[in-house]
């Protein structure tokens, strides 16, 4: 009964996008990165839900919104196991994991106060140098940071 309620919870959208399996700790960062605040349609956000995979998870259900893949992949840094479900007419027509791009522009703040990015009006840029532990390095000052420690702008 609990299992089918979970399934219903995911498919309850008529049309839209569901992003599932977001680690609870990253949920609000993901909401910010996706610009959820700027959407006009209905959005349901779940936090600290039970998860077999993650222990607890977050979930975002946005009605009548289909994000470009590049936008979705921007959350891969902090939610590498997130899965995107595209819903049309109550059916999950597409299901795919987010994938970490090689370069991350504009989301992460560099932790080095002497980096040019913290002293000049410009976008940050990071390269993924280790996909296993998701380590990224600043394109400008070369400082390396693990994604879990990364500061999201």
């Amino acid at each position: 009964m609990t299992v089918s309620k979970q399934e219903l919870a995911v498919a309850a959208l008529r049309n839209g996008t569901v992003i599932d399996h977001i680690p609870s700790a990253s949920l609000f960062k993901a909401v910010r990165i996706l610009g959820i605040e700027n959407l006009t349609g209905a959005v349901t956000i779940g936090y600290n839900l039970d998860s077999k995979k993650l222990g607890t998870k977050g979930i975002i259900k946005a009605a009548d919104v289909f994000f470009p893949e590049s936008t979705l992949n921007r959350i891969a840094l902090i939610a590498p196991s997130a899965v995107v479900n595209i819903i049309r007419d109550y059916e999950v027509v597409e299901k795919f994991p987010v994938s970490l791009p090689d370069t991350i522009v504009g989301i992460v703040k560099c932790g080095n106060p002497k980096c040019i990015t913290n002293n000049e009006p410009m976008r940050t840029r990071f390269h993924v140098i280790n996909r296993d532990d998701v380590t990224i390095s600043c394109h400008y000052c070369s400082q390396v940071v693990k994604s879990i420690d990364a500061k999201i702008i």
Binding site: N112, K114, E120, P121, Y140, S142
Partner: protein, 304 residues
């Protein structure tokens, strides 16, 4: 962005390094060729550095080029709040190439992205100083006849020393064996040891600057241990003289061994080493002229 910019030593591969070394050798044979006639070079030093600036300016002058620029950001529009981007775009209107030193890390990389003319990084904060690495490589090449299969000992501040990090990375093509001689607080950072492992570079770590280490080295690269780097002043007092070099320590060194230092040196190399045939640090500084001439000509696509 101009692909002939030199912002980090990792921008150029093995073949380009060898080509620059050949070019530097030809400049050493004749540093006064009018290859930069009609060209104007900007030296933008947002942070003072007399030695590097004079070296670059001499490089240009001896090749018949003209120099404009500044040696301190306080006298420029930066002090009025102008962004680096605006300054670079403005200067790009006047010159053929920009040579810049800046106190912020990544400044040269950013500059190279906002202009189409080549940018040479003369030092960005604690990050990169590729012309120093090229002159270090040239010095090693000249004194050892090769860059291959050498035992290179790095001594002193291996944690914060950008010159040793850069040299380590540049040497990856040449099958070196590195010795890291430093106290625990200033040891070679983990990411560089990982770099060595990933690139098949052999290295050993030592707390003692021992005769055994000295006598099996082809190159000893000395760096200064700075008081400011220590959280614990007692630790500094304990180690400050452990990594000094004096002439007596060199009696059984290999004949080909040379001592390098990026300068300025304080007491890590004793005055009595200066007259020792193993000392090479002043010639090393002179090699900076030739290495920089090579770098500038490469950036402008001038055959040298």
């Amino acid at each position: 962005m101009n692909s002939k910019s030199l912002v980090s030593i990792s921008d150029i591969g093995r073949d380009e390094i060898m080509s620059l070394l050949d070019s530097a050798r030809r400049f050493e044979e004749n540093p006064n060729r009018r290859l930069l006639e009609g060209r104007v070079v900007a030296t933008l030093f947002f942070e003072p550095s007399t030695r590097t600036r004079l070296s670059f300016e001499t490089a240009v002058n001896r090749l018949g080029g003209r120099v404009i620029g500044f040696s301190d950001a306080n006298t420029t529009s930066s002090s009025k709040g102008e962004t680096l981007k605006d300054t670079i775009k403005m200067v790009s209107n006047y010159v053929d190439i920009i040579i810049m030193r800046h106190y912020l890390e990544g400044a040269a990389r950013y500059a190279s992205e906002v202009t189409d003319i080549p940018v040479i990084n003369a030092g960005d904060g604690a990050n990169q100083h590729p012309s120093q690495t090229m002159l270090d490589l040239y010095s090693i090449y000249k004194t050892q006849g090769t860059l291959e299969n050498l035992t290179i000992t790095l001594v002193g501040d291996l944690k914060y020393g950008r010159t040793v990090h850069s040299l380590l990375m540049a040497m990856r093509y040449f099958n070196p064996t590195f010795r890291f001689v430093a106290c625990e607080e200033l040891g070679m950072p983990k990411e560089y040891k990982i770099f060595c492992d990933e690139n098949g570079i052999r290295y050993t770590e030592h707390r003692d600057f021992s005769p055994e280490v000295i006598n099996t080295s082809d190159i000893i690269y000395m760096t200064r241990v700075q008081r400011e780097r220590f959280a614990d002043i007692m630790e500094y007092e304990r180690v400050k003289d452990l990594y000094n070099l004096n002439s007596a320590m060199l009696t059984d060194a290999r004949p080909n061994m040379r001592i390098l230092h990026p300068l300025p040196r304080v007491n890590e190399i004793a005055q009595d080493v200066d007259d020792n045939p193993h000392a090479y640090y002043f010639e090393q500084a002179r090699n900076g002229l030739y290495a920089r001439q090579a770098i500038i000509c490469r950036a402008l696509g001038i055959e040298a």
